[in-house]
């Protein structure tokens, strides 16, 4: 009697397990990314095979995303976690990953995809001291604003996904090829489009635009922040404005998560103008994809440079 029940129970459990396995096999790969740019690109690489979700939204301060407990169940279910790396998310991702109890996505394991691996970081501090600010010990992490950075991100994601799901290698590679072909074409267009930005001098609130400026030949004059992550002091602002006047910088970039007060004051003082530029997908309502992000930033800057009369001749 007991053995009969036992065998029935075992059969039932087996059925449940098989069903669960079956259901699981048909499910899409669940990818969580720290930032929306990664989600956009991962969705392109993964195509129909994946569901992608970004924890942060484009209008947030990527360095100060709050540790919301609602992120924990998402990370718990995630099959892959994609991060920017270079300590970009150091204040929130590590604590969340630990709490998620998902060993797959722990740094160093295959489910943890760090897209900075192929990037040659800029502004790597030679002197690691907190006196230099608090944010970028591994170098500037804002490489997503350079479309060539987008190429490296896409390649790293494709490799990472292939490592985790080798059965879908062909799809990932094919999708990557399509993405890169589009990106290559775009980059050619953007380089032509952005020619008037050559030599345009600008400041920004945070040191976000290094890679972007280097790509399109713009001239970074300084940041409103005293150091990355440190709010400006009065003397720093005086010095900055003096510097802007000396070199003739008119453009003040403001990232959406910083207040407009100080940038507006500076622009008024130096007779320049403020341009609000997103640093991530979704940072502005028009910016829905990674391609939108680069295109939007170039076009907004062109407009501003023309208004300010600092646009170069093509």
């Amino acid at each position: 009697m007991i053995s009969q029940w036992l065998s029935r129970f075992c059969g039932l459990m087996l059925g449940v397990v098989l069903l669960a396995g079956e259901a699981h096999a048909e499910e899409k790969i669940y990818i969580v990314t720290s930032l929306p740019d990664l989600a956009d690109i991962a969705a392109r690489i993964g195509g129909d095979l994946v569901t992608v979700e970004s924890l942060a939204k484009g209008i947030e301060d990527p360095h100060g995303v709050p540790i919301k407990p609602s992120f924990v169940p998402k990370l718990n279910r995630a099959q892959v976690l994609i991060v920017m790396g270079l300590e970009y998310e150091h204040s929130w991702i590590p604590a969340l990953v630990t709490e998620s109890r998902n060993s797959k996505i722990v740094k160093g394991n295959s489910g943890y995809i760090d897209v900075s691996l192929k990037v040659t970081p800029k502004e790597v501090p030679t002197d690691l001291s907190r006196a230099k600010g608090e944010l970028h010990p591994a170098g500037n992490p804002h490489f997503n604003l350079d479309p060539e950075g987008g190429r490296l991100i896409a390649q790293t994601i494709a490799e990472g996904l292939t490592l985790n799901f080798p059965q879908h290698r062909a799809t990932f590679e094919a999708n990557l090829k399509v993405f890169l072909a589009q990106l290559n074409a775009k980059i050619r267009d953007w380089e032509i489009l952005a020619r008037p930005l050559h030599g345009v001098k600008f400041i920004s609130y945070h040191q976000d635009f290094t890679y972007f400026a280097d790509r399109f030949g713009m001239d970074y004059v300084g940041t409103i922040e005293l150091k990355p992550g440190i709010e400006p002091t009065a003397s720093h602002l005086v010095e900055l404005m003096q510097n802007m006047k000396t070199v003739g910088a008119k453009i003040v970039l403001r990232e959406p998560h910083f207040s407009e007060k100080v940038p507006n004051q500076i622009a008024a003082q130096v007779g320049g103008l403020v341009v609000k530029l997103p640093i991530m997908v979704g940072g502005s309502p028009e910016v829905k994809t990674y391609f939108d992000l680069i295109e939007y930033n170039i076009r907004e800057l062109l407009k501003a440079a023309q208004v300010a009369g600092v646009a170069g001749k093509v």
């Binding site: 301060d61 709050p66 919301k68 609602s70 109890r101 062909a170 998560h257 910083f258």
Partner: protein, 500 residues
Amino acid sequence: MRTQLQLRVLIGLIILAFGIVGGLGPVFAQNPGAPAASEVENLKKQMALMEEQLRQLRLQVDKMAGQPVAPGSAGPPAASTADPALEKRLGEVENKADAALTATKKSFASQFNPSLSLAIDTIGSYKSNAQGFNPGDGTGTRDAGGRVNNSRPAGADFNLRTAELFISADVDPFTRAYAVINASADAANGDEATMGVEEAAIVTTRLPYNLTVRGGRFFADFGTLPHRHDHDLPFVDRPPSIDTFIGGESQTNGVEVSWLAPTPFYLRASGTIGNKLGADSREGVTNVNSRPIKGLTYLGRLQTYFDLNDDHNLELGGSIVETPNAEDITNSGRFERRLVGMDFRYRWYPLGSGVRQSLTIAGELLHDIGEADPVNGGRRTDVFGNPVRQGAWGGYVYAEYRLSKQWRPGFRFDYFQLQSEPLLVTNPLTGLPASTLNATGHRTDNRTWSPYLTWFPSEFQRLRLQYNRSVRGNAQSADEFFLQWTVFLGSHSHGFSERE
């Protein structure tokens, strides 16, 4: 990691060589159009491509090898390359790559060192007068350190409250561990800073079914602020209600099992068995003696969280601690300790500007329904020594508004009841001394109002000004001023449970 790097450098070199010798053309000239129908086809294509590349390489090599040495250049050794400049550059690149590889191969004994951080928390304070509890006449009785219920005696004082070393690292693929070593002023040592192990715990990292086990000494999972370290509190002092009911931090020696429910929303449960609850527990229960199983302390907590929308969220939790039969080594009496707590935290944190502007409203409500006497230790008795079992309420609520990245004003209100202070009155019927407890059932009310202002010059430095107006039962009310200065060296993060 290192092999990965080597592999990447190697692949990079190969690509570089291909690029230089064969021209980049063939590598990037693939048609990026329609995705391949199947993997096999894709592989075939790749093979074909590689064959083509190889063929072209061979052609080039053949061409170079077949090139006649220029008639005039008999002097130099017969290098078979066509372009010495190219050769030189290749050599340079190789040297650089070799140097980089060698650099990554260096090993240091310190490579496996854990991460370290140090918190320094110093407080200057002034208190108008001492506040007593027990006699109810304002004079107060003090413990060995001259304090009553952790409130400092009257007068001005500088206090190095914390010099806290936080050490953490992975132990192996299955566990991590951390320790918090604190040298803090301790009443038991005449306010001299003494080194103590606040926490030293081992935590599992790979258990199945979303389980985590923590063992050692740790701040037990009870409520929200009881398991925060002093310097991590949103105020200068721990809310007096928590201090009284828990006894400082919720420290325990024991083992905890926590579970994350596989639900789409956040739900976490934990259960702990430990010696006692409270680092400065005044119930006379210590870590020193062993005790019967019933003398251990059992804790449970359930917490959840909801995003009301992108900008508003709510956290709720409930906790219980039960010591069925605690033994007080000083009074050698036995008593039951039971405490239940509920906590909430509402946050308005607008996505785009939360770093600069946000609001937190949070609070905890505690109900002590055990027999333990949180002030004198042991079993709670009235003046006649009869055991008293009577519930007492306590709790706090605070609101903090973030004005900017740097400035955060806030206000806290704290309330707790003490029912263990038999106020000496004369029973009008018998003419004998009686306690208020027996005569009227009255408990004393203790209230504290605390406005405070925090300034963060940076993420790792904080100054805080706080004023406490406290009214303690029948005791004289007191004014307290604090100026707290805190810095953090190293990567300071106690992790998820200590999140802002």
